[in-house]
């Protein structure tokens, strides 16, 4: 059975649905920028919160895109996918790729705000950040897929996300530097994949002491995405 064509059908569908929903398109453009400007201004430093705003933008976009999995089940579309001969892995790849690319594009849009900061802006930096955001998007969509598959309502999805992903983002270094935190926080962040996602973005934009190496971040993210992907394929039945 063809692997790529079913995956592409599901990825393309994510884009078609996205462009069909005007409010999502507006949210795509306006809300992340507003968030960065308001919170950054609150800190009195647009540079400081920029990396956090990038990972947060990708996180929320990935989560809300993947919430459509619950709608797909409720509206019946998922049933017609599951009775098709499409390999289960291609279903995961298609769905995750569509949501991840949308989240990534949203992150790239916010990245254009870097020109209003004093952070590094050379081509290599921007390419590195783009790569980091892509890994972050893949991580968050894969994790969201596994969570969404287990749940039957969007309310339950919100509850689980608020319990897991939002705290994980808070402990990623986006708001405070874990280096100067209590010991339990310093230990906990070592097991937080979002810490490595945020650190990778920081390594390119504003490298500083105490951040994990780029290679360590990439390994941690790749491993987390791999584990998420295996869980996602196993749950798709």
């Amino acid at each position: 059975m063809n692997f790529l064509l079913p995956a592409w059908a599901l990825t393309r569908r994510e884009f078609q649905r996205f462009w069909g929903e005007r409010s999502r398109v507006a949210g795509f453009v306006i809300s992340p920028l507003l968030f960065w400007i308001v919170v950054g201004s609150g800190f009195g430093n647009l540079d400081y919160f920029f990396a956090g705003a990038l990972t947060m933008t990708v996180m929320f976009s990935a989560m809300f895109s993947m919430m459509s999995l619950i709608e797909d089940r409720r509206e019946g579309f998922l049933l017609s996918v599951l009775v098709s001969p499409a390999p289960r892995a291609s279903i995961v790849v298609g769905k995750v790729a569509g949501a991840a690319i949308l989240a990534w594009l949203q992150g790239l849009f916010v990245l254009s705000g870097v020109f209003f900061t004093t952070l590094r802006q050379d081509a290599l930096t921007l390419a590195g950040v783009a790569g980091a955001l892509l890994l972050t998007a893949l991580l968050l969509t894969t994790v969201s897929y596994v969570i969404a598959w287990k749940l039957s309502s969007t309310q339950a999805f919100h509850a689980v996300i608020n319990l897991l992903l939002v705290p994980a983002w808070m402990l990623s270094g986006a708001i405070f530097d874990p280096l100067f935190s209590f010991l339990w926080v310093r230990l906990l962040v070592q097991f937080n994949p979002l810490y490595y996602a945020h650190s990778l973005v920081r390594q390119f934009l504003a490298p500083g002491p105490g951040l994990p190496e780029i290679s360590n971040c990439c390994w941690a993210l790749a491993t987390s995405i791999g584990i998420g992907a295996v869980l996602a394929v196993r749950s798709t039945k």
Binding site: M1, N2, L5, P6, W8, A9, L10, R12, R13, Q16, R17, G20, E21, D72, E75, G76, F77, L79, S80, V81, L82, V83, S84, P85, A86, P87
Partner: protein, 295 residues
């Protein structure tokens, strides 16, 4: 073409299917008839490879592996399975791609199916703007896109108004004349069941009887007389020589000559019998006779 052998499905402590077996021949239109909760949708989910039975085996189009079965079946669900936010053409394309179909021949096939189901010219309409009847037509066109040899339909006319239901049944009749297709349809609607070659009657997760509609109705025989009465037990006791089925406000008899029996009963029980209905046996009578329950 489809066979199920001793299928058992449990939902927790509740047994949804108990030792269910059936055989559907190639080209046959087979109905699974039963009331809500009889297990027919569970059986549909098993055959559509969405639910693994606790025990038993099933073969669809010569295949036992779910991944292979999926290539050979077209499925129409009770609820809509279209993406409401996409257009008709986008839905059809996505469906074909899931089956590995693409290219000029695939596009040509979409065009043919839309024409066959009177949907041409509406390709670019969002599905959520189509009426219930039209959306059902899209569902069946979608299910036939990959040219399956077995079509599974789960209560396909649920939620349709009478006109749309009639159109749907005509569509199925046309389809039947046009192509060799094995169809398995679950239903609790009698005129849908009457159109099937053979039926399996399901009640509380078990097969109670099966056969052609004529054979099944032949099990009842004669006429069915139903009296509407406030005292059904008294009416039933009046005629112990006939088999009576008693319900809330009604009593039903199977008799060789319904008209004569009804006239005698009306004379014998003045004021007790309020309404009289005489009819040839229907599949509902068969169901009532074999299970004691109504459809």
């Amino acid at each position: 073409m489809v066979s199920a052998d001793s299928i058992r499905v449990d939902y927790g402590a509740r047994r949804a299917l108990d030792d269910v077996s059936l055989v559907v021949g190639a080209g046959e239109w087979h109905g699974i008839l039963g009331p809500n909760g009889s297990g027919k949708s569970t059986l549909f989910r098993v055959l559509a490879t969405l639910l693994k039975p606790a025990s038993g085996r099933f073969v669809v189009a010569g295949e036992t592996d779910p991944a292979r079965i999926r290539r050979r079946i077209g499925v129409v669900f009770q609820s809509q399975s279209l993406d409401q936010k996409l257009t008709l053409a986008q839905n059809m394309t996505a469906q074909g791609n899931l089956y590995g179909l693409s290219g000029a021949r695939f596009r040509e096939r979409i065009g043919k199916l839309l024409w066959q189901f009177h949907l041409n010219g509406r390709e670019n309409e969002p599905v959520n703007q189509l009426s219930g009847g039209l959306a059902r037509r899209v569902e069946i066109a979608k299910a036939l896109l990959h040219e399956p040899s077995v079509l599974l339909l789960d209560e396909p006319t649920t939620g349709l108004d009478p006109t749309a239901r009639r159109e749907w049944l005509e569509l199925l009749t046309d389809l039947r004349h046009e192509r060799e297709l094995t169809v398995l349809v679950t239903t609790h609607i009698l005129d849908e069941a009457e159109r099937c070659d053979r039926l399996t009657l399901l009640h509380e997760g078990r097969v109670v009887t099966g056969g052609t509609p004529a054979e099944l109705k032949g099990q009842v025989g004669g006429d069915v007389v139903e009296f509407g009465t406030a005292d059904p037990a008294r009416v039933a006791a009046q005629y112990p020589m006939f088999e009576a089925r008693v319900g809330d406000g009604w009593v039903r008899f199977e008799t060789p000559n319904g008209a004569r029996f009804a006239a005698q009963a009306a004379d014998a029980l003045p004021g007790v019998i309020q309404t009289i209905a005489i009819q040839k046996p229907t599949l509902e009578d068969v169901f009532l006779r074999t299970t004691g329950a109504r459809l």
